[in-house]
């Protein structure tokens, strides 16, 4: 067997050929190249959630295997847990089986479990960075496609299925086809009211939902460098919607400052050694990218999706497309079908489309900065009559910090529900659902048919755009309110 062995650590970047951040991290984790061409990589961190791990634990039991590194694994309850104020594990009865299994399996395997009764509970992709569990330069796996979120710290976040969850539990490794390098550069200054969400939605519009397939996408450029860490997590979160295997941003001083002092982050001299390692995580001059895309941020307006896939997106001042004007038959049919599902007329303006529900939450946009930005828009105003507004913090820690700043009062005074942490109306696997035929503007990441409930209609947008729509009762340009 040919063995390509690599030493852990980023020291091997001394090699002559210029390499990318992705290459440096991957190579440091490469255990060996397998006979079938895949790479066996070490997984430093593993995060479990209740809906994709039960079958994995059952598999371990059936085969008599045990968890190889419980200390490198954490578990939480986020997907199916109720987010009703004052909830507990029983509040949503449909979730009981999986929630109980998560707790019992974690306990039996000596895995740290941050369940609904723990102050650290929250959405997997929110708590992993927040706890210092995800670190720059690490490889983190989780049975959830939005694991790419932690790329915002300069980690490789790999979303996997349940069989691979079992594989990581048993071996602390993954056998993966090595992703190819791709870069998306965001250059220029963001206008007022433009957020990380608008940048990534714009990228979706330009590249499509298969644009990054098989790739590790590095987001770079002046606009990315100026983004705070939480906004970088938002950008990397939606890499999966580009079809990419993962997304990442080179860590910098802002990243190091973010990580420092968090519960599971290295401390003291170990932290200094970590930072010294992390400083090497830059893509070298001339590092090869199979695709290199440039997006000019200066021209980006607030983005809102109009269809049933995230690439169906436009600036809030634009009109939904008219299928009749499209020359490509396949695209014409797809757009017509999407408009039919969404209940929209060809060519109608996006602004003015009435909404029934406004949802602020999900692993994309539920961090403190998201809630602060939305609260700024909402402050002192009321949501439109007939609109249901929900704010679902991404973690109990976010909720506490938001409450310390009085954000819950701002949202409640405006008429929003202030809920407990969880995935809620993004995946709608608990009772947080949009009624059949109703229209929801959401800060989440998927606008698929039926995603938020049977016949639900979803428009994706940033927290400030969702907040503005909740006040107006229809899709609106948040910048108009800012100017007033």
């Amino acid at each position: 067997m040919t063995r390509i062995r690599a030493a852990p650590g980023f020291a091997m970047t001394a090699e002559a050929a210029p390499s990318t951040v992705f290459d440096k991290i991957w190579n440091a984790h490469l255990i060996e190249r397998l006979d079938d061409g895949r790479d066996l990589v070490f997984v430093d961190r593993h995060v479990l959630q209740e809906t994709t791990s039960a079958v994995a634990f059952a598999g371990l039991k059936r085969t008599g295997r045990s968890v190889r590194h419980p200390e490198l694994t954490i578990a939480t309850q986020d997907h199916i847990i109720s987010t009703a104020p004052g909830r507990d594990e029983e509040s949503y009865p449909g979730g009981r089986e999986l929630l109980t299994l998560m707790r019992a399996n974690a306990f039996a395997s000596r895995i740290k479990h941050f369940g609904v009764d723990d102050p650290r509970q929250g959405i997997v992709h929110v708590i992993a960075p927040e706890l210092g569990f995800a670190l720059p330069g690490s490889i983190l796996a989780c049975g959830d496609s939005h694991t790419s979120t932690v790329g915002g710290l300069g980690a490789l976040g790999i979303g996997v299925g349940t069989s691979e969850v079992e594989h990581v539990l048993a071996t602390q490794t993954l056998a993966l086809t090595r992703p190819r390098n791709m870069r998306v550069r965001f250059e220029g200054k963001l206008g007022a009211g433009i957020t990380a969400k608008d940048l990534i939605l714009r990228a979706m519009g330009e590249l499509g939902v298969a644009g990054g397939r098989g790739c590790a996408v590095e987001y770079a450029g002046s606009a990315i460098a100026s983004l705070p860490v939480e906004a970088r997590l938002t950008i990397c979160n939606m890499s999966i919607e580009l079809g990419a295997r993962l997304g990442l941003i080179a860590p910098d001083e802002a990243t190091f400052a973010y990580v420092k002092g968090r519960e599971f982050a290295p401390t003291g001299e170990a932290f200094e050694r970590a930072v010294a390692s992390w400083r090497k995580l830059r893509s070298d001059e001339g590092a090869p990218f199979e695709r290199d895309i440039l997006i000019d941020c200066a021209t980006i307006a607030p983005q809102v999706t109009w269809g049933t896939t995230p690439e169906h997106v436009a600036g809030v001042g634009e009109r939904v497309p008219d299928p009749a004007s499209l020359s490509d038959a396949k695209r014409r049919e797809g757009v017509a079908q999407a408009l039919n599902y969404m209940g929209l007329e060809p060519g109608m303006p996006l602004a003015g489309i009435p909404i029934d529900v406004a949802f602020i939450g999900s692993c994309t946009n539920s961090r403190l900065s998201d809630l602060e930005a939305a609260a700024q828009v909402v402050k002192g105003r009321k949501i439109a009559p007939g609109v249901r507004g929900l704010v679902v913090p991404g973690s109990m820690s976010v909720k506490r910090e938001a409450e310390a700043r009085g954000l819950h009062e701002v949202f409640r005074a405006a008429g929003f529900e202030w809920r407990e942490a969880g995935c809620s109306m993004c995946v709608s696997i608990n009772d947080d659902v949009v009624a059949p035929g109703a229209r929801c503007i959401a800060t989440s990441n998927r606008n698929f048919e039926n995603r938020q409930g049977p016949r639900s209609r979803t428009h994706l947008a940033s927290p400030v755009t969702v907040a503005a729509a909740a006040l107006a009762g229809h899709i609106t340009d948040v910048r108009e309110g800012l100017a007033a």
Binding site: R5, E32, D36, T51, H167, P454
Partner: protein, 213 residues
Amino acid sequence: MRKPVREIRGVMAVMPIANINTDAIIPSVWLRTATADMGKGLFGRQRYDEEGRENPDFILNRPAFRETKILLADENFGCGSSREAAVWALVQFGIGCVLAPSFADIFYENAFRNGLIAGVIEPATYQVLKAAAAAHEGSPDFRVDLPSTSVVAPDGRAYPFAIPTSRALALMRGDDEIAITLQHAQVIEDHYQVARTTSDWLFPAALERSTAR
């Protein structure tokens, strides 16, 4: 060990749609238990109305396609959520092979782990296979042959699909991926021990301490 797979024989259904996502393949309502019959939930929102009645127009409900074994779809099949239940639903329904011009990464990996053949076809092959499916609608004599990596239509015409040789062999042997990786246990352990020295910051005491209960 998984059941070895060499051949899938039966009806081929076509869903001529790109970007079929895993939410559509298995809606979240079927994911609330670890023991559901996922086959019943396959394409649930399209197969049933809100009262749970079958939609007679949906392809898998049409008499000729109720026993579908092979599914032909357009590009980027299985995009979106990582839910492996999408593969379980296809397999439990009885589908043993999906053919498409391309697959989303996570779905593709999940397929192999469950013995589902995910065959990549050229766009031109997609078109001719669509025609072949129409010409032999509902015929139980379509055959996906893994050793020759081809789909054979009832008239005997064969169309190629792509699958990495090593993975085709793994399917034919019924390999257990975890057992294979565990054969590498020593190099994995070596890597871990070296990492603990060279990147000690990756293994802070706070992590290791907190496993004790």
